[in-house]
């Protein structure tokens, strides 16, 4: 599909084309992705020692533009341009061509989710691919499931926080089922240090942390919410949930059956499936619990459209809801956001 045709589809759906800056203050990228992302940035300092980077991802740039534009009403826009990221061990080009479309500040989330998915389906229908698969999930379902498990709160937070880092997430589950992170000898030694700290002034700072904070966390971990000997049962539930993949029309029944079987007191309603339940022409529609896990800012509905190229499944389009991101990047109030990005090398 030619870019012009793609842009016409987006314009016909009411998305306005916007131009994004080529540079961004590094703090916005680091706020979204953490210090670890620094290794991918082409960054430099201005004369006021403010750190800037070539834009590594246009979606962050787009969100920052929306925040800085002070728009209060529902806004639909799309962008197309180059992002720049250092490549680690492979020798791919550091220039990435990105196109994305987004809806900000709307009050009807379900309608917007449907609109983003519908637009994506239309782009797929106009592409050269004859067959595809639309996978839909919702991070909220996973988070609700974790909240219902009998785990210490800090472990629930940990599992939710690292859902987007699949490799580390799996290591966490391993730790949870084996207790491999607990050394009884060290725990005893640290209990003695904690007792000494209790005699100090609670506002004393040790390497950036107050005695009060250190002891609060120590007590929570060792006395108030100690880990159970083994959490194998909970780990099994998490793993089984992430394996769920079925036609979208069977998803509510199957999920509710799964929750009932595991006594989780959860019920999934229609809101979680913002698409007509019937397969579109040449497009299978599925619920897949284990998709779009690489981006940590997704907060609700997530989806992707995969196509077959050179006998491999490739993601043509992916997106989701990221309501928390705007606040995280400096918006003064909670602002809703949903969008999708295209794999331009396939388009």
């Amino acid at each position: 599909m030619k870019s012009e045709k793609l842009f016409n589809i987006l314009k016909s759906k009411g998305f306005k084309n916007i131009e994004l800056d080529n540079i961004i203050e590094s703090k916005f990228v680091l706020k979204r992705s953490g210090g670890n992302f620094k290794q991918y940035l082409f960054s430099f300092y201005d004369q006021n020692l403010k750190e800037w980077s070539l834009v590594p991802d246009l979606s962050v740039s787009s969100v920052v533009k929306f925040i800085q534009s002070n728009i209060k009403n529902k806004t639909k826009w799309f962008y197309n341009g180059e992002a720049y990221r250092k490549q680690n061990k492979n020798y791919n080009s550091p220039i990435i061509n990105q196109t994305g479309f987004e809806i900000f500040a709307s009050n009807n989330k379900l309608k917007d989710d449907k609109e983003i998915i519908q637009t994506s389906i239309e782009i797929f229908s106009n592409s050269n691919f004859k067959k595809g698969e639309l996978n839909i999930s919702n991070i909220e379902i996973f988070f609700a499931l974790v909240d219902k498990l009998s785990l210490p709160l800090r472990w629930k937070d940990r599992i939710k926080r690292h859902f987007c880092r699949e490799k580390y997430f799996n290591q966490l589950l391993k730790k949870l089922s084996s207790n491999s992170d607990i050394n009884p000898a060290l725990v005893d030694k640290d209990k003695k240090i904690a007792e000494k700290l209790r005699k100090k002034n609670s506002s004393t700072i040790y390497s950036g942390r107050s005695v009060k904070d250190i002891l609060a966390r120590f007590d929570l971990k060792n006395y108030k919410e100690p880990r159970l000997a083994s959490d194998k049962k909970n780990v099994k539930i998490i793993k089984e949930f992430l394996k769920i993949s079925c036609p979208i029309d069977k998803a509510p029944e199957l999920l509710n059956k799964f929750f009932k079987k595991n006594k989780l007191n959860l019920f999934i309603g229609e809101d979680y499936f913002p698409v007509d339940r019937k397969n579109k022409k040449n497009l299978k529609i599925k619920f897949s619990a284990n998709i779009n896990r690489s981006l940590e800012y997704y907060s609700g509905m997530v989806f992707n459209i995969t196509v077959n190229k050179n006998k491999k499944q490739n993601v043509l389009l992916s997106g989701g809801r990221y309501d928390g991101l705007l606040k995280n990047l400096g918006s003064k109030k909670e602002t809703t956001a949903v969008g999708a990005a295209l794999n331009m090398s396939l388009i």
Binding site: Q171, K191, R209, I214
Partner: protein, 226 residues
């Protein structure tokens, strides 16, 4: 055919210089230099070989750039070097000296921190309560970054340290450190405890991938790696 000079790099200072010279001696390669302070030498019986006394970091760079064919340096420095350098250097042999662990160390006054999962949680605590990233002082930015990435820790900032890293948490330059530790005594003396080991390092024999297949170079590698 013109005989090209083969540069061999070895350590220029201290106890490690003496240990490296022992390796040459044991391999039957006698280094001859004009004086104690001379930074260039030769090897008896190998007229085309030049021995260069260099800083350990520079040795890895010289190997990566193909300036030197063979070198003795630390595994930690090789692993810390940029991918463009590291990929051009082969590790031939790990010696039994110059040993140390690259460790992640936190203050002993943090009894609630015993592993990477604790540190990950604490890094979020910094962000929530102090509105800043947790600071880690280190000379090993690349290896530290790899470890943080592997352990799922994202809320951190690396602070460059050129020396005396162990006291940077006391003077307020950082909150935690990543540094080399041989016996753990310096950590203990500076109120630090290791919570994980990133790398077990020792002195190693390296070669430049670009030059390692030359006949004379192969011969010397064979002797040094016995």
């Amino acid at each position: 055919m013109k005989n090209e000079i083969i540069n061999i790099a070895t350590l220029s200072k201290g106890r490690l210089k003496i240990e490296a010279e022992k390796v040459f001696k044991k391999s039957g390669l006698k280094i001859v230099s004009k004086s104690e302070r001379s930074l260039i030498g030769s090897i008896k019986g190998f007229p085309s070989v030049r021995v260069m006394y260099m800083n350990a970091v520079e040795i890895i760079e010289a190997l990566g750039k193909g300036v030197c064919a063979i070198g003795i340096s630390g595994k930690d420095l090789w692993r810390e070097s940029e991918p463009s350098i590291q990929s051009k250097v082969s590790l031939i042999k790990e010696f039994n000296w110059g040993k140390s662990d690259l460790v992640v160390a936190v203050p002993t006054s943090w009894p609630d921190c015993v592993n990477s999962a604790d540190l990950e949680e604490i890094s979020f605590e910094f962000y929530k309560r102090k509105k800043r990233l947790m600071r880690c002082a280190t000379k090993f930015k690349n290896l530290s970054q790899e470890w943080f990435n592997e352990k799922g820790i994202t809320q951190y900032e690396l602070i460059s340290s050129l020396g005396a890293t162990e006291n940077s948490h006391i003077i307020g330059k950082s909150d935690i450190i990543v540094d080399l530790s041989s016996t753990g005594e310096t950590l203990r003396q500076n109120n630090l405890k290791a919570i994980d080991s990133i790398l077990k390092s020792s002195a190693c024999l390296f070669s430049s991938k670009k030059l390692q297949n030359q006949k004379e170079v192969k011969k010397i590698i064979k002797l040094l790696s016995k």
